[in-house]
Symmetry: C2
Subunit: 181 residues, 2 copies
DNA sequence: ATACCATGTATCAAAACGATATATCAATTT
DNA sequence: AAATTGATATATCGTTTTGATACATGGTAT
């Protein structure tokens, strides 16, 4: 049972649009993708090497423009692996929310500490939500263009959930501070 | 820079209420906690051993009722570690949504495949939401009791976000199937 | 009887994280 | 002109976590 590396699919998905370096891939993951996935150099570079050996991608040294770098491109075999994964509708969704963990065990400390944890969370959500809304505005203008729907939908997913987070934060703070009418 | 094991905090939090075996801890994590965190035997047992060596927990062989087992209890030192973590309002929240990943790269396959992926997600969310709502009903009756607020709030967090997920699923399916009026 | 499932502890390979090391190039500062 | 800074770029290392597996016991239903 080959324990399928998920990072492979992220990389293949990105390479299906254009050839990229490992560094490029990391930048893409830290961009729009970061709202629902992440990946580190420590997983990207080993994965690229393994996938090159397996024939899913090709590497090419390019020292033309500026400094030396290794540009990776997807192969037909890589495209096959990507589409096979995409066509499988089963997906594992997993969230690790340290904020919720601290809330769950909040009984061991004073309420103020837990409220503060929620406030930090709230602040971060507010910031990210603003960013997502800017993305949405820009994307809604080019929605007719091919494939932009998919990007757009991941953004609206973020907006929907983040707005839910903010509603919950208000309720949670009110309940902890005893503002029940 | 000791890379603080998060599983330690989950274990200490659970042990702060009552002594437990490793197996018990796993069951607790797979219960109410699974909506915002997870942990496997492969991390629980090694963590328990390490923490016993560090004096954060004590182990005691108990062969009294039925078969042999090892019951762990928290020490003052363990309580100190737990509260120190709880009082730090900074928290890392991270979600890995394979559903969203498949959506993001949906352009590489036919729309039906992506719609099906969303439908599978929707189905799962609907199931979990029902469960969460049952939890909420039961908890709302004992909300005055000590510490139940914290549990209750993690449940309402799940409800709020899951309801947002369902709203999004409708929108997403409509957009992909071209039901725009 | 025996089959089955929950209980219970433990380990292993593989995957991912997070930090760090190293080096080059471009832009800015001094 | 020289020095500094920050972005680019590749790579590795120890640690943590996952997911699977192994193994054994106790209770219960057939």
């Amino acid at each position: 049972m080959a324990n399928e590396r998920k990072i492979d699919m992220v990389i293949l998905g990105l390479l299906s649009h254009e050839p990229l370096t490992g560094y490029d891939i990391k930048k893409r993951i830290d961009g729009a993708i970061r709202f629902f996935w992440k990946g580190s150099f420590g997983s990207i570079y080993p994965a690229l090497n393994a996938m090159e050996k397996d024939g899913l991608v090709t590497k090419e040294n390019s020292s033309e423009s500026g400094r030396e770098k290794i540009v990776y491109a997807i192969t037909p075999s890589g495209t096959a692996a990507l589409t096979a994964w995409l066509k499988d509708s089963q997906a594992k969704n997993e969230l690790k929310y340290e904020t919720l963990l601290k809330l769950f065990f909040g009984g061991a400390v004073d309420k103020q500490a837990t409220v503060h944890t929620i406030e930090m969370f709230e602040q971060n959500v507010r910031q990210e939500l603003e960013l997502l809304k800017r993305y949405e505005q820009n994307l809604s203008r080019v929605l007719e263009q091919q494939d932009h729907v998919y990007y757009y939908l991941t953004v609206t997913f973020g907006i929907e959930t983040y707005e839910g987070y903010l509603r919950w934060c208000e309720k949670a703070k009110g309940m902890l501070l005893g503002n029940s009418p």
